[in-house]
Symmetry: none
Subunit: 411 residues, 2 copies
């Protein structure tokens, strides 16, 4: 099956947002046996949207539109789809009811024109939006399919996952060559070090192995082309085993797994509780840990001790220690870790202190210098790190390094 994507939105053509939805959709289409030959982007202009959809329909079996499903006058996608296909839009009562409820629950009056969001296809089906008010739709007409999806990624992704992929799997079942891929995630090893170890595997054709560097992580994407899912899985597994052999326990997870998920899972399994004391990361580590559902079983408390007084008051770090070694030091990181552990009565405490910049650096303690300490009943350690980048980069790398340190301790 051939597919095309038409992304709609003047904000895309002005470069105000990057089209991550189109990339996301592109990534999953091969997995349901669908070939993508073109993508296009068009502004909030009815005539041009119609033209883009018509062109896409002339070349493809399935056309996806992304964006333009909101209630405003700029939201023209469904009107354009109807025009391009030569069909009428009809009111979907279930959607209308859901939109009314959405406003009722929030105790605000619904602007009448929000009902335009409940217009849907005569032939096809409506895709429920569990997060916002804009339903998507699958238009079927004359052997062609147009699927309309909302622009906000938080609405786009669940609708794709729950509504669109099952529909496409059904349609393409059997016979077609498909592409599957799997991402191995590595932390605590730099990109060059990773490539050094797996260089020979990066040149292979099927499956291919492609590296992708993120802040503090390296991802390796294995992509296999095969006649059926089990064959693709087998091919991926063979390469994955080789990669894991070379990289050892630096591989922390795969696909959608995050480092914080892996760490929280491990703490739950070992029945160990955690308390955090953060200075330069400013709560980002606690934020990442608490992104994991179920973390409340092991995460007791996090202290963002930004001022020296807070370090003493909440964590019992002696003022004299801060004076002697400076707030950014091995000693203070350790005292923060053990202080958090004691105050929250946790099994493990971690302390992070550093200079996130842009101000506050000195020649001896420059911006990017970070100390991280871990304290447990039978263990105490700390490390000194130096990070490059802007304020957010340094916070991100600091939080990442703390998770890597915690994971290593738990291994």
């Amino acid at each position: 099956m051939r597919a095309e994507i038409v992304s709609v939105g003047t904000e895309l053509l002005l470069g105000q947002i990057v089209d991550t939805n189109a990339a996301h959709l592109s990534r999953v289409l091969p997995e349901v046996g669908t070939d993508l030959h073109y993508r296009s982007t068009v502004g909030d202009n009815l005539e041009r949207i119609v033209e883009a959809i018509r062109l896409a329909l002339s070349r493809a079996d399935v056309v996806f539109t992304i964006g333009g499903l909101g209630p405003t006058e700029d939201d023209l996608t469904k009107e354009a789809v109807a025009k391009a296909l030569g069909v009428e839009l009809v009111m979907d009562e279930d959607s209308a009811r859901r939109i009314r409820e959405f406003f009722e629950v929030r105790g605000i009056g619904m602007p009448e024109r929000n009902l335009k969001q409940a217009l849907g296809p005569k032939e096809g089906r409506v895709l429920r939006n569990d997060v916002g008010t804009a339903p998507g739709a699958i238009f079927e007409h004359g052997g062609k399919v147009v699927i309309t999806l909302p622009g906000p990624p938080g609405e786009f992704e669940p609708m794709l996952e729950r509504g669109v992929l099952p529909y496409l799997r059904e349609k393409t079942e059997g016979g077609h060559a498909l592409i599957k891929s799997r991402v191995l995630k590595i932390a605590g090893l730099g990109e060059s070090a990773v490539e050094e170890r797996v260089r020979d595997l990066l040149g292979s054709r099927n499956p291919t192995v492609a590296p992708l560097a993120h802040l503090g992580e390296v991802h390796l994407r294995i992509t296999a082309k095969a006649e059926d899912p089990p064959s693709a899985d087998r091919m991926i597994r063979t390469v994955e085993e080789k990669l894991r052999e070379r990289l050892g326990d630096a591989v922390f997870g795969a696909d959608e797994e995050t480092l914080e998920q892996v760490v929280v899972q491990r703490l739950i399994e070992r029945n160990l509780t955690l308390a955090l004391a953060e200075s330069c990361t400013g709560g980002m580590l606690a934020h990442r840990v608490t992104n994991v559902p179920g973390c409340s079983a092991i995460f007791l408390a996090g202290i963002v001790a930004y001022s020296d007084t807070a370090k003493s008051g909440f964590l019992g770090v002696p003022g004299e220690l801060i004076e002697r070694h400076g707030a950014v030091s091995h000693e203070v990181a350790k005292a923060m870790a053990s202080g958090a552990r004691a105050a929250a009565e946790a099994d493990i405490g971690m302390g992070i202190t550093g200079i996130a910049g842009p101000g506050g650096g000195t020649p001896a303690k420059p911006v990017g210098l970070v100390y991280i300490a871990l304290s447990a009943e039978d263990h105490e350690s700390s490390q000194e790190l130096r990070f490059a980048g802007n304020r957010l980069d340094i916070k991100t790398r600091g939080a990442q390094a703390a998770l890597v340190m915690l994971r290593r301790y738990l291994l």
Copy 2:
């Protein structure tokens, strides 16, 4: 001048990389008087690249290609451009010399086919690549222009800046319209409510006003087309004043300004210190506040009190209060706010408690229910909110609502 962008690369159609180059180019084109109506993306297939370029040439004066300038068999862009324009490629001796030198300097033999990268236009000019081996080019033929740019952002960006923008400025100089835009940012007012107030302005043609909804914020983009920058600025200012009149102090900033920056700035100006007590937002609010450089002047401490014990231990919330009203209640949010304020000796304390999900909800206290309280010497208030979305959405909306509440208090 009308422009289109054709991004080339199978890796884009597989979603393995996000097309940040196209977004970058889109962002700068309006500044040199160039209108972008369409963007398209095509894989490494000669016939389809030719077709995409032909279509773009039929609608636009200038067509940009991004990617496909490397030395491999998959790199087909220049060949496709030549075919679409009906011109020949000629060897550029300067480029050939530079490519040979690139390899010599690195002490490696140059594969013969790398010389294909030195092929360029007969009419037009070559764009030097100071970073890699792939030169870009400007093809001029029959009144149309095709500009080929390399895919790696590290090569793309300097070539755009040094080679392409000066060329376009020259071409559009005098008499041609340019486009400028400015984004007004609004918080504490929903998308429909914002539109309700400014509806009549959304229909205007020049400047245009377009709404964009984010999680907990609405952005209004004002875009003006004018002969010169001062005229564009004047036109934008006139509309901006009208919008600010209608929206009042719900407008918190413009362009790159963030809500946390505005709040931190206000606290610094008023010389007020802040302490935070977070439960369901899990440190995200502290993370956002500490993203602002200079926040240490006013931010003393944040307590992520995830367990009830931490709420009592660090914040002095009476266990009996939690038992009577539940941890998610007006009363506990208030006790957290005043507890944080007292413990950190801050001027203002904020407390947030709620149910981020996916588990933990009950009919009486469903997922998405959040209480936020603010405590100051002369003031105490709290509010109940109900948010939709996944765990991260609820954290994000909670942190956002707390910043809105704090900003309102400071106004």
